[in-house]
Symmetry: C2
Subunit: 415 residues, 2 copies
C-alpha cells in the first residue's frame, strides 16, 4: 500500500510557517501500519493542486491533504476538488447545524455568509464531522485511490484524524505492523557511535533499518521494522536492541517512543520522591519550559528563577556579590552558588543552574561567547562543569539545555 | 523561473522530525527573488530519490536538496547523484584538508575512514565548502536545471546557503523582487477580520495576494507581491497597507517581517527606558523563554520566577497565603499578587503574571481546565483578566502566552 501527504498553502512555500501537520499525520499513520512514501507541499493555486492530485492518484492508494478549507477567499481546496472529482458543492445539513450551534454557544457574534458556506461540500464526499471547528473533513475516492481532505488548522486536523480518519482507515485497509524504536543518546557524536557499533550494524538483518539523527549534543538511533507478524517483528527488534545497548550504555538514556529525557528525569524523581528547581541565566526559561511542557510536572518540579539580570542573581538567588566580582558572572563558582541558591529558596532536593554567554554581544562578563557553566546541586553536594558550545545564540541555548538534562539525568540515576 | 526543494530522509516521512530546513530555504530564496513552487520529501531510498530528481529536472530550473550527505550508512545522496549525473566520486583535496583540520582543532579523537570519506564528491560537482561541518555542499547541472545538494544538519545547511549558495544564485539568474508584508493581529478571529476588510480585499489589485494565517489567539494577514520594478511593487503595497491599517487598528500590532510581538514589546520598553519581569505558573517558563530567545533582551528583561508549586507563590513571590485560601490559587487576586510580587522582588517597572489550569488534571485548585488569569503590573497599578482557553494543555499554554503578550503590548503603547 502506498500513501502520501499533500499540504496546500503558500505560507509553507514562502517559508512563513513550518509544516508540522505532515509530521503529525505521518507519525499517526505509521502507528496503524501505513508508511508515507512522499510528502508534497503545493501552492494555493488550482492548476498546481490539480497536478498534485493527478500525480498522487497515479502513484498512491491513499492521499491525505491538509489546508485550504477555511472560510476566506484564499481557500480553494473545495472548488478544486469539485473539478478533480467532476462534482458539485451541496450544503450539508449536519455541518450547517453544527456551525450554527458553535456560533450560538461560543462565538456569540453575527453569523456571516462565509461561515455558513463552510457547510458546502462536494456531493460525492463522505463528510467527516469536525467537532473542533467549522470546516468539515472529506473522504472521496477516484479510480481506487482514497483522498482525505482535512483542515490545515493543526488542532482541528489532529482531532479529525484521531476520531474520524484513523478508525476508518484501519477498517478499509489490511495493514501491517510498523515498529520504530529510537534510542536516545547524549554526549558523543554520531561518527563515534557509528564506529563503536559498526560490526553490529553490518550484521543487522535486512528487515531492520538503522538511522542516525544527530542534533545539538545528542544523537538518536532509530531502528525501524515492518511486517504482518507482529510478534516476529517485535522479537527480532528486541534481540538486536539487547545486543546494541551494552555497546552504548554510557551514553544511552532511554527510548524516545516511551519518553523524552525530561520525562525520564521526572519519572525517576517521582520514583525516588525528590523534587527539582532550576536557576537559569543563559537558558532564559527554556529548562523550566521543557519540564512544564509535560502534564504531571507539578509532582516533582517546584519551579525556577530566570536570573537574566546579574543583579537578580544576588538579590533573588542570594549569590554573594564578591563571588561575582572575583570570578565573573559567567563562572564555575557563580553557577554553583546559583544552584545552591535556588535549591534553598525553593526548598528542593535537586537543582540545576546555568550561566553562560550566548551572545551575540558579551554582556556583563568577559567570558567568550559559547562559554557556559552548568551546576547541579544534590542533597549532599554541588558541582559544576564548563562547556564550550560554539558561537550561535540559539544553538548555545539548546545545547546548554541538552547538557543540563544529561547532567541531572546521570546524577539521579547514579544509585 | 521555477524552483523546488527536495528533502531526503526517512525521519521526515515517519514523522520523527519536522522539516524546518525547507522553511528556512524557502524564506531565504524568497528574499533574493526566487519563489518555490513545490517542496517534496522523499525516503532514503535510491529509486525514490532518482524518481524525484527526474521529475524535478523535467519541471524546474532550480532544485535544492537537503539530507543524506552524512558519514553513516543511511546517507545515500552522493551515490544516487553519481547515478543520476552518470559520474563518479573523487576525493576533493580542499575538503580533505578541512576535515583533517577540524579533527585536529576541535574533535581531538581518532580520524575514522567514514570521516575521510566525507571528502568524496562527484567529479562534475562544484564543491561548496562547509565551514561548519565535514559534509560539503555540491552544485551540479543537468540539461539546464541546476541541482544544489546541502547537508541536512540545519546549522550547516544554513551557513552554506547564506555564504555559498545565495550569492551564486543571484549571479546565475536574473531575479525579480518579491515582497511579503505580514500584519500581526491579536485578539479576534479570522472571519471577523475578513468581514471587516471585505470591501478592501475585493478591490485589491491582482498583483497583490492576501492570505489569512490564524493561530491560537492571533491572525496574521500576509500580503504578497512580485515584480522586476522594485519601486512599483513597494509603492503599490504601501498604498494598500495604508488603506488597510485603519480598519484593523484595534488589533494590529506590527509587521512580522520587522519584528515579532516580543521584539516590538522589547524595543518599546527600551525606548521608554523601562524593565520587565515575569511570574509564571501555568506558562511554566514559556514567557521568559520567548523574550530571552532574542539577543538584547537583557536591556529590558530582568528575569522571572516560575512559581509552579503553589508554595513557591507564597515563599518566593510573597503572595499572601490567606489570599490563596480565600480565592484559590487560580484566581484574579492571586494573579495580581504574583505580578506585584515579582515586580517588587525583581525591582522591575512592569510585570506579567500567569496562573491557570492547563490540565489534564485539576491540580491545587478547583478551577476548570482552561481557566487562566493574566495580570499586568505597571508603575501605577495592577490589574488582571480572566480567560477561558479550551481544554488542551499545549494550546492553553500557548494561548496564555499570546494573550499575555497582547496585554503587555497594549499597556506599554498606551500613551
Amino acid at each position: 500500500m502506498k500513501a502520501e501527504i499533500i499540504t496546500i498553502g503558500d505560507e509553507i512555500l514562502i517559508g512563513q510557517i513550518v509544516d508540522t501537520n505532515s509530521t503529525f499525520i505521518a507519525k499517526a499513520l505509521n502507528k496503524i501500519g501505513i508508511s508515507i512514501h512522499q510528502i508534497t507541499s503545493v501552492q494555493d493555486e488550482k492548476s498546481h493542486i490539480l497536478d498534485a492530485l493527478n500525480r498522487a492518484q497515479a502513484n498512491s492508494d491513499l492521499v491525505l491533504l491538509t489546508g485550504g478549507l477555511g472560510p476566506t477567499k484564499d481557500d480553494i481546496t473545495k472548488t478544486t476538488f469539485v473539478e478533480f472529482f467532476q462534482d458539485q458543492l451541496v450544503s450539508d445539513s449536519a455541518v450547517l447545524a453544527h456551525i450554527k450551534d458553535i456560533w450560538k454557544k461560543y462565538i456569540k457574534q453575527p453569523l456571516l455568509q462565509v461561515n455558513l458556506d463552510q457547510a458546502l461540500v462536494p456531493s460525492k464526499a463522505t463528510v467527516l464531522m469536525n467537532a473542533s471547528g467549522t470546516a468539515p473533513g472529506m473522504w472521496m475516492e477516484k479510480e481506487g485511490t482514497v483522498f482525505i481532505a482535512l483542515p490545515g488548522v493543526p488542532f482541528e486536523m489532529k482531532a479529525l484524524l484521531q476520531n474520524e480518519v484513523l478508525p476508518r482507515l484501519s477498517e478499509a485497509f489490511e495493514l501491517p505492523f510498523i515498529l520504530h524504536k529510537t534510542l536516545l543518546t547524549y554526549g558523543v557524536g554520531e561518527s563515534i557511535i557509528a564506529d563503536r557499533i559498526s560490526d553490529w550494524e553490518t550484521n543487522l538483518p535486512s528487515t531492520i533499518k538503522l538511522a542516525y539523527l544527530p542534533n545539538l549534543g545528542r544523537v538518536r538511533l532509530r531502528l525501524s521494522s515492518k511486517g504482518f507478524d507482529k510478534e516476529l517483528v517485535e522479537k527480532s527488534m528486541a534481540e538486536e536492541i539487547q545486543t546494541l545497548i551494552p555497546q552504548i550504555s554510557d551514553v544511552f538514556v532511554g527510548f524516545e517512543e516511551d519518553n523524552s529525557i525530561e520525562q525520564i528525569i521526572g519519572n525517576q524523581l517521582v520514583n525516588i520522591d525528590k523534587t527539582l528547581a532550576v536557576a537559569e541565566s543563559c537558558t532564559g526559561g527554556k529548562i523550566a519550559a521543557q519540564f512544564t511542557n509535560h502534564p504531571g510536572a507539578s509532582k516533582y518540579f517546584k519551579g525556577g528563577v530566570v536570573a537574566y539580570d546579574t543583579q537578580i542573581k544576588t538579590a533573588v538567588l542570594g549569590v554573594d556579590k564578591t563571588l561575582i566580582d572575583n570570578h565573573s558572572v559567567v563562572s564555575l563558582e557563580v553557577a554553583k552558588a546559583m544552584a545552591s541558591g535556588v535549591q534553598k529558596l525553593f526548598n528542593s532536593d535537586y537543582a540545576i543552574a546555568t550561566t553562560g554567554n550566548a551572545g551575540p554581544s558579551k554582556g556583563d562578563s568577559d567570558a567568550e561567547i559559547g562559554t557556559v557553566y552548568i551546576a547541579i546541586a544534590t542533597p549532599n553536594q554541588v558541582y559544576a562543569q564548563e562547556y564550550t558550545l560554539g558561537n550561535q545564540r540559539h544553538r548555545i541555548m539548546i545545547k546548554t539545555l541538552n547538557m543540563a538534562l544529561t547532567l541531572i539525568q546521570k546524577e539521579i540515576f547514579k544509585n
